[in-house]
Symmetry: C2
C-alpha cells in the first residue's frame, strides 16, 4: 500500500520502478487486452469482478484492501473500486520507425490534456505518441485516467530530448508540423496523408524557440469569433481527426483502421 501511494504520487518512484498504477476495472481490462503483464491488483475484500479473474489468469497477484484504504491511497473523493500496478508500457524511439501519423508532445504540462491527446491519438488512428522530456509524465494517474486506456493501445515513447526526436523522425522522412495558435497554414490545407508528426507545445508559451526552429512547417487551426486558442487537448482532437478524414478520403494511402499496426 505504501508502494501504491508512492507510485501514484511520485514520478521518480514510477521511473525507478518502471511501473505505474491504473485505476478501475475498465482501464485494467484495457491493459489486459493489450497483453500488458499486470503485476498486481488491489481491491476491497469481497470485490467480485470478472476482470479480477482475468488478471489472475494472466499471472497478476491479487491483494485485498481493508475498507477505507482505497480512499486514502487514491487521494480522490470518488476512487475507482480497484487499483493495479502495471509495468511502464513505453517503447524505444526506434520502435516507432515507420509510423506515418505521429504526435510529439514537447512541453505539455497539464496531465488531463496529455491524457486527452493520447485518447485522440488512438481514436484517430495515430501510429505513435512521443512524450519528450519537459512534458508531463505519461504515467501520471491523471493522465492515465484521462487517456481512458488509450496509452495501452498507441505505441508510446517517453523521456527523449525533443531536438533528438525531431532530428530522428526527420531523417525517417516524417514531416514535422509545429502547431501554433496563429500564423501557420490552415490545418485543412496541409497534406496529412504522407508521413507527418504534429509537434505540440506548451499551452501558454507554445514551442520553445530552439524547437520551433527545426520544424518543417507551422500549422494553425483557424478560429472564428474572438477566440485566441483552443486548449491542447481540443486542438489535438481537431488536428488528429482532420488527419483521419484526409486519410479515409484517400483509400490508397495509409489510413486508420481497427486494430492496425503503426499507421
Amino acid at each position: 500500500v505504501q508502494r501504491l501511494r508512492r507510485l501514484l504520487s511520485l514520478r521518480s518512484a514510477r521511473q525507478s520502478e518502471g511501473a505505474f498504477v491504473v485505476e478501475g476495472a475498465k482501464v485494467l481490462s484495457e491493459a489486459l487486452a493489450a497483453g500488458v503483464a499486470v503485476e498486481s491488483v488491489f481491491a476491497p475484500a469481497g470485490t467480485s469482478d470478472p476482470v479480477l479473474d482475468a488478471a489472475h489468469g494472466a499471472g497478476a497477484r491479487l491483494f485485498e484492501l481493508s475498507p477505507g484504504v482505497l480512499e486514502r491511497v487514491a487521494g480522490t473523493s470518488t476512487p475507482q473500486p480497484l487499483l493495479a500496478v502495471v509495468p511502464a508500457v513505453d517503447v524505444p524511439l526506434e520502435r516507432v520507425r515507420g509510423a506515418s501519423f505521429v504526435l510529439v508532445l514537447v512541453d505539455v504540462r497539464d496531465p488531463g490534456n496529455a491524457g486527452t491527446v493520447l485518447r485522440s491519438a488512438e481514436a484517430a488512428g495515430a501510429g505513435a505518441v512521443i512524450c519528450c522530456e519537459g512534458s508531463v509524465d505519461a504515467f501520471n494517474p491523471k493522465t492515465v485516467r484521462a487517456s481512458a486506456g488509450s496509452l495501452f493501445h498507441v505505441p508510446l515513447v517517453v523521456g527523449c530530448d525533443a531536438l533528438q526526436v525531431l532530428d530522428q523522425i526527420g531523417q525517417w522522412g516524417v514531416r514535422r508540423l509545429a502547431t501554433a495558435a496563429r500564423l501557420g497554414t490552415p490545418h485543412t490545407s496541409v497534406d496529412l496523408r504522407s508521413p507527418f508528426a504534429f509537434v505540440l507545445g506548451n499551452e501558454a508559451h507554445g514551442l520553445p524557440p530552439h524547437v520551433a526552429e527545426v520544424v518543417d512547417e507551422v500549422v494553425t487551426i483557424p478560429l472564428a469569433g474572438r477566440s485566441e486558442s483552443l486548449n491542447v487537448g481540443m486542438a489535438a482532437a481537431v488536428l488528429c481527426f482532420e488527419a483521419a478524414r484526409q486519410r479515409a478520403a484517400a483509400p490508397d494511402e495509409a489510413r486508420p483502421r481497427r486494430g492496425g499496426s503503426p499507421g
Copy 2:
C-alpha cells in the same frame, strides 16, 4: 461575500438572482468586451489591473476583499485574483432564429465538458448554443472557467425543454443531427453547410430515447483502434471544426467569420 458564495455554489441562487460569478481578469475583460453590464467586482485590497478601471468605467461597483477572503469564497486552491458578479447572458430561443450552425446540449452533465463545448462553438463560428433542461447549468463556475469567456460571445439559450427546442428549430428549417458513438453517418459525409444543429447527449447514456426519436439524422465520428467513444468536449471540438472546414470550403454559403452575427 455571502452572496458571492451563494452564486458560486447554488444554481438556484443564480437562477433566482439572474446573475452569476466570473473569475479572473481575462474572463472579466471578455464580459466587458461583449458589452455585458458587469454589476460588481471583488478584488483584494491593493489590486491594480486595468480591467478594474474598465469595469468601473462601465458602471460596475468595486469592492475590496480582505486578505484570505477570496481563497475561502472561491473554494479552489488556486483562486483567480478577482471575482465579478455579472447578469445572466442567456437569450430567448426566438433570438437565435436564423442561426445556421447550432449546438443543442440535451443531457450534458459534466461542467467542464459543457464549458469546452462553448469554447469550441465560439472558436468554430457557431451561431447558437442551446443548453436544455437536464444539462448542467451554463453559469456553473466550472463551466464558466472551461468556456474561457466564450459564453459571452456565442448566443446562449438555457432552460428550455429539449423536445420543444428540437420542434422549434426543425420548423425553422434547421436539420437536427444527433451525435452518437456508433452507427451514424460519418461526420465528414454529412453536409454541414446548410443550417443544422448538433444534438449532444449524455456521455454515458447518449440521448434519451424520446429525444433520439425526433432528430433528422444520426452522425458518428468514426474511431480507429479499440476506442469506444470520445468525451463530449472532444467530440464537439471535432464536429464543430468539421463544420467550419466545410463552410470555409464553400465560400458562397454562410461560414464562420470574425465578429460575425449568428452564423
